[in-house]
């Protein structure tokens, strides 16, 4: 099952049942739902058992994330033990699908046998525990979390770098006795890993800075595996999430306002994603095939505008659905989009496009990096620091989409835009204040700034939409009327 209309309908039905449960069990239901969602939405993978092993890995990473981020001297409580038991029970119960006929299975394919699964989970747990034992006495908080942080970053790099992913898929296929020659990066299509990783990294780093509240495994796992935001975000913050989570038992069972607000958001999201974005995908948006088929510069611009709109409606539609489902579950997920294409500067664009990822990158890439540079004895100029900060942030966001030259160039493109805007706004502050005195000129400037911003972003999407540098350069040339 993928995150499509039928999955949304199943979610909605499950949420209906959720509100019929006793109030005190809502948190536990979220925990079970999160664990199960990992398996149920996981696409079927060609490597034997991979589509069961990867979600199991996600559950284990979640538990490891909690273990590593426990507050100092925070003991494991009976509630934590119960949470481990529930998560393990969910995995093992789903593993029983092995004994069901294919048509009756909830998992994407036949799970591994119970003994292998238990041995695998046990061995992995022991390995992680061993690493934790080795590092727990370290003085530096960063050194303590580093092993798990490195593991997550390594998994990221592995999944997002095609060569590495193919190599690992090939090795895994070899172990499974399958044809290694057809190994593909898609063999490791791990549902929800990206957003789970963002959440775990956030908690790990916030633990080192001491701002992460003390979380039970129950709350931590419900946060990390919150079903609506598992596939496409938004990336919530644990400290914010836990407030809603703790309030769940107090929420009224039948709340018309909650139902209406959530329903309206879901309806809006479905319209954006399944009507507008999917309509634009009917060859009306730029892709690697039609970029070379366009009959002229005007046609290519229309395809590019189509792509820009499709990307927005697709992604913000998914965000709306996630936020709506979240409201239905009693959790207010953060907003992710705020009319980004109406912004008049690239900085404002990035403050309104995929906001939760932008905030994450600002907190965990831009700020630590610029702070680290500022701590150096020989500091570069503030312009250089900002430039380095933007570069690192946007490269991180670009490479998160995939370790390719095009995504790296896209990141550089955005960083260059942000840097240029920063320099421009610093040097034109007085002029801009004066502009406000003449409303007509200000309106004209605003319109011009919007056009520049939108087209800069849109041209950047060329790198994003196309897989190859040569094709992207050719497309950019043609958009400017060169190379026909």
């Amino acid at each position: 099952m993928s995150f499509d209309l039928s999955a949304i309908a199943v979610f909605a039905a499950a949420i209906g049942a959720y509100w019929l449960l006793p109030a005190r069990t809502r948190g536990w239901a979220l925990l079970i739902g999160g664990g199960a969602t990992l398996f149920l939405l996981q696409p079927r993978l060609p490597i034997r058992f991979a589509d069961f092993v990867l979600p199991t890995g996600a559950v284990m990473l979640t538990v490891a994330g909690w273990w590593w981020t426990r507050a100092p001297n925070q003991p494991a409580t009976r509630q934590d033990v119960l949470a481990v038991a529930i998560l393990a029970g969910t995995v093992l119960l789903l593993a029983l699908n092995r004994y069901l006929p294919g048509s009756a299975r909830l998992t994407p394919s036949r799970p591994p046998d119970m003994l292998t699964l238990v041995i695998g989970i046990g061995a992995s747990t022991l390995a992680l525990y061993g690493v934790w034992l080795l590092t727990r006495r370290m003085v530096s908080p960063m050194a303590r979390i580093r092993p798990l942080l490195l593991l997550i970053v390594a998994l990221f790099a592995l999944l997002k770098t095609e060569v590495l992913a193919i190599a690992v898929a090939g090795a895994w296929r070899g172990l499974a006795g399958q044809d290694v020659t057809i190994a593909s990066a898609l063999d490791l299509n791990w549902l929800g890993f990206s957003y789970l990783a963002f959440r775990i990294i956030h908690t790990l780093i916030d633990r080192t800075s001491g701002i992460l509240p003390s979380l039970s495994l129950h709350a931590y796992a419900a946060y990390a595996l919150f079903p609506p935001s598992l596939v496409a975000g938004p990336i919530d913050r644990a400290d914010r999430f836990v407030k809603d989570f703790d309030a769940l038992p107090m929420l009224a069972r039948f709340d018309a306002d909650r139902f209406a607000r959530g329903g309206a958001r879901i309806a809006m999201g479905i319209f954006k994603k399944f009507v507008i974005a999917d309509t634009l995908s009917f060859g009306l948006s730029l892709n690697a095939v039609n970029v070379d088929q366009a009959v002229g510069t005007g046609a290519l611009w229309l395809l590019l505008y189509g792509y820009a709109l499709r990307l927005f409606f697709d992604f913000s539609g998914y965000s709306d659905i996630a936020i709506g489902l979240g409201i239905w579950l009693g959790v207010k997920l953060p907003e992710n989009f705020d009319r980004p294409y109406l912004r008049t500067t690239i900085t404002a664009f990035w403050q309104s496009w995929h906001k939760s990822l932008g905030d994450w990158a600002r907190f965990y890439v831009f700020s630590p990096l610029t702070r680290a540079i500022l701590r150096r004895e020989r500091k570069p100029s503030s312009a250089v620091i900002v430039g380095i900060g933007h570069l690192a942030t946007m490269l991180t966001i670009g490479l998160w989409h995939g370790v390719t030259v095009n995504f790296a160039i896209w990141g550089l493109w955005q960083a260059a835009g942000l840097y240029a805007h920063k320099r421009w706004s610093d040097s034109t502050r007085r002029w801009y204040r004066k502009l406000s005195e003449t409303p007509g000129r200000k309106r004209a400037w605003t319109l011009f700034a919007w056009a520049i911003t939108f087209h800069y972003v849109a041209l950047g999407w060329v790198w994003f939409a196309l897989p190859d540098v040569g094709q992207s350069i050719r497309a950019l040339g043609r958009l400017l009327g060169i190379g026909w």
Partner: protein, 373 residues
């Protein structure tokens, strides 16, 4: 927001939804919608009828609504005063399988900038449609005659003639009402109760927006692919590689489940469908020419048994004789171009021509486009 307010919204939504559906049913909404088109208005009309097995790559799709298909075609544009309008009817060979829109027969003929006897510009429209069956051609012709043709050129080949295959094309089967009307009006020897016909349910639900969601979705997709058509000029995904025709053939003389060679009888062939087309065209004030489409003539092994993988010699020769006889007896204008194109100019089927092969066919057709005197 209260549950009462939500219930009111739900009730109003339901009433509005039911009302829209009822209006759609009682105004026969589908017949209105399928005549609306972005083509020739917002996006250029298509150069050939929509047909696509792979919509994502061809920006084209196959649908059942003839009005929608014709509304998307350039033929739906008003006829200019100085235009001599020629419609081409036929199968995938004339539609232009593996040919870009500018390489099809209609495009090549129009590009020759011909003038009719009275000095009008000859503009040729491609109304051919893949799959061989004369009834499919006649159905399209019947709908297309509203567009004031001066000349209809109907390309035929043996595989379009078997009476037992006339209802096989989905376009025919799913336009059962129109086909049955033609069968009844022209007393065609086709069984109107043929199980291949797909009858649209007549109940209210089936005629509502809900019941018509599939044709409505097809219509909408056709409009959307119009934008892709405008931006790319592509209406067919043409694979670079294809399996060329075999020149060595099996010695099997079977055709249409007839294993023992014998003359084909008139009762086996859909000659009356051609007659209906001729009458329809004449009634619309046009002229019709029937052209026996060029076929691939193999020179390899067993070429003495078969012309190509489709046609054994006995069946094809018998068909040609029958067609010639029918044309003579009924005073139809016919042109037998069966061997007009050399074997090297065919691509992946015995009737699919390369661009150069299409040019040869176009040259052969010029005399009928601009008849002297």
């Amino acid at each position: 927001m209260t549950w009462r307010a939500l219930a009111r919204i739900a009730l109003k939504t339901a009433i509005l939804f039911i009302l829209c559906n009822l209006i759609f049913v009682f105004t026969n909404g589908m017949t209105i919608v399928e005549r609306l088109s972005l083509y020739n208005l917002v996006v250029p009309g298509r150069a050939r009828l929509p047909y696509g097995e792979n919509p994502a790559e061809s920006y084209n799709l196959s649908l059942d609504s003839l009005p929608a298909m014709l509304a998307s075609h350039t033929v739906a544009r008003p006829k200019a005063a100085d235009e001599y309008r020629v419609l081409l009817i036929g199968d995938s060979g004339i539609w232009g399988w593996r040919l870009t829109p500018d390489a099809t027969l209609s495009a090549q003929l129009t590009a020759r900038d011909l003038r009719s006897a009275d000095g009008r510009r000859v503009v040729v429209y491609n109304l051919a449609y893949p799959i061989q069956a004369l009834m499919k051609d006649a159905l399209i012709l019947d709908a297309a005659l509203a567009h004031q043709p001066d000349l209809v050129v109907w390309f035929v080949t043996l595989d379009g003639f078997p009476l037992d295959k006339q209802t096989y094309p989905p376009l025919v089967a799913r336009n059962a009402k129109g086909v049955r009307a033609l069968i009844a009006q022209y007393e065609l020897p086709i069984d109107p109760r043929d199980p291949a016909f797909v009858d649209a349910p007549g109940d209210l639900l089936a005629r509502s927006i809900v019941g018509m969601r599939r044709p409505l979705a097809d219509w909408l997709r056709l409009q959307l692919y119009g934008v892709s058509w405008a931006l790319t000029g592509i209406d067919q995904a043409i694979a670079a590689e294809y399996a060329p025709l075999a020149s060595d053939l099996d010695a099997d003389p079977t055709w249409n489940a007839i294993a023992v060679p014998r003359p084909l009888t008139p009762s086996e062939l859909a000659i009356p469908v051609l007659g209906m087309g001729e009458k329809l065209t004449r009634a619309a004030g046009g002229r019709m020419v029937i052209v026996n489409e060029p076929i691939h003539i193999s020179r390899g092994a067993n070429a003495d048994v078969r012309y190509n993988s489709w046609y054994p010699r006995w069946a094809y020769d018998s068909y040609r004789e029958g067609l010639e006889r029918a044309c003579g007896e009924r005073a139809w204008t016919c042109l037998d171009l069966w061997d007009a194109v050399p074997a090297d100019y065919f691509t992946d089927s015995p009737v699919h021509l390369s661009p150069d092969g299409t040019a040869i066919l176009a040259d052969a057709l010029i005399p009928i486009m601009i008849p002297k005197g």
